[in-house]
């Protein structure tokens, strides 16, 4: 599947731009104006080409790197940026194993050096009802999986993330079961939109965004994007995932963005784009339905939420 054109899906600008700016200024003072400058702030950290991207305006780098859910560093949005200084994303290796012919352990330098890196500007919709537009740098997960030659028994992919309580203060408390685990069905993992990100805004991934290697699945809620991955296993059975283990009724295995299926405690019909004042409509599959809806043909998305 080749995806050439950039989609222009959600320009749900109900509010007049001047009015929005005025409100934003009222709410957040001059911080809102920082949005304008940040987009061009690409540093020469990584060599990459432009890939499949939305034409929507990226969220400011400042917001993307200070407003994070990364419970390994603490549950507040500001904890990951403030408490990840001790975390060492180098040296780093990733084990790829399970139902494959050539399991291997690969160093992060090789992943960055031997894959063709692309910038992919994706929408990110958090299960909490807010969203961002993030310029990731990475490579398709399918390219990495191809190198280990999955066998026919590989029905799912399980992601295991790092366990380092001495560097990750949030891990000393069992808010979630550590290490954080996520999973995808094999066809989701092999989908060309599914990205392994190693960079952000032209530079290597900051610690708070999941350094040195994280998963990005743009049509799913953000928590599916496991951060600081140490192991990727091809497995036959649907793997256990951290949020699902904590509250199975609230966080399903699929967790596709779906405005029609509410979280038991709040509505998923709308979202607040960070930097905007008014809520906007949430789109099925986060606006990526054209490319991914086929994966779920015939499935009851209410039951398989």
């Amino acid at each position: 599947m080749l995806i050439r054109h950039a989609p222009d899906l959600t320009d749900n600008d109900v509010t007049d731009h001047g009015l929005y700016l005025k409100r934003r200024t009222l709410m957040a003072g001059l911080a809102g104006l920082g949005l304008a400058g940040a987009a061009s702030e690409a540093r020469a950290g990584l060599a990459y080409t432009k890939g499949f991207s939305t034409t929507e305006k990226p969220t400011s780098k400042d917001d993307i790197t200070t407003y994070n859910n990364f419970y390994e560093f603490g549950v507040d949005k500001s904890d990951p940026s403030q408490k990840s200084g001790r975390f060492k994303p180098r040296p780093w290796t990733v084990r790829i194993d399970g139902a494959c012919e050539a399991p291997r352990t690969v160093a992060i330098e090789d992943l960055i050096g031997k894959n063709r890196l692309e910038e992919r500007i994706y929408r990110m919709r958090c299960v909490e009802g807010w969203s961002m537009v993030i310029p990731w740098i990475g490579f398709p997960l399918k390219d990495l999986l191809a190198t280990v030659k999955p066998t026919s028994k590989a029905k799912f992919v399980a992601f295991e993330t790092v366990m380092r309580p001495s560097e990750m203060p949030g891990q000393s408390w069992n808010t979630l079961e550590w290490p954080y685990r996520e999973g995808l069905r094999i066809d989701e993992a092999m989908h060309p939109l599914t990205l392994m990100a190693v960079g952000l805004y032209g530079d290597v991934l900051p610690n708070q965004n999941g350094a040195p290697l994280r998963l990005v699945v743009p049509w799913k809620y953000g928590f599916k994007g496991a951060k600081s991955i140490v192991r990727i296993s091809l497995v036959e059975k649907m793997p256990a995932t951290s949020w699902n283990k904590l509250a199975a009724r609230e966080y399903g295995f699929y967790s596709n963005v779906n405005p029609a299926v509410d979280h038991p405690r709040w509505s998923q019909a709308t979202e607040r784009r960070i930097g905007e004042f008014r809520r906007r409509e949430t789109l099925p599959f986060n606006g990526y339905g054209e490319w991914v809806a086929d994966l779920y043909k015939g499935m009851d998305l209410r039951a398989n939420f």
Binding site: M27, A28, L30, A31, V75, K77, T175, R265, S267, R279
Partner: protein, 209 residues
Amino acid sequence: MNQPTKRRKRPSKLRDNLVYAVVWLACFAPLVWLAWKGFNGALGANPIEALIRQLGVWGLRLLLVGLAITPAARIFKQPRLIRFRRTVGLFAFSYILLHLLSYVGVDLFFDWNQLWKDILKRPFITLGMLAFVLLIPLAVTSTNGWILRMGRAAWSRLHRLIYVIVPLGVIHYYLLVKADHRPPIVYGAILAVLLGWRIWAARSARLRL
């Protein structure tokens, strides 16, 4: 009669006003701090959510402070502390009113249809709204005029609603938390101590009779 001693014990009008000003400023400070942060862009990337959350948390904190005044007055034998209950209570109401207004006006942007759906479908909003509605008569009847009009006994009975309202507020907070329930549990524990003291005090008063 020991007049001079007695006169020395009664605090001066000036000192009384100063203490009152300190309490008032302490209650007002979080709002000033929040407004300052808001205007300086220090509420983070999602200022609307931060504002709503902080207003709610300060409302709950002040409700707990209000509930702590009676036990403190008795334990430390400072009956004059009681006069601050009204100040603290009305400030708590104000924070909660602003909490609600910012949710309805800023977050939902006066989408009444969505508000109604939230109240019906989301237990944490149902309980929060119920707690707010129950607070209204307490705020309205907080004046001396109302105490006289209702009579002490009836007024006290009405204001016992606070023993329902604050637990509702804590549950409201607990239900909206995603994973780390420690903060609402801490507030719940403080509430349990404050209510537990009342049960204990009422029992020992009955035993003395």
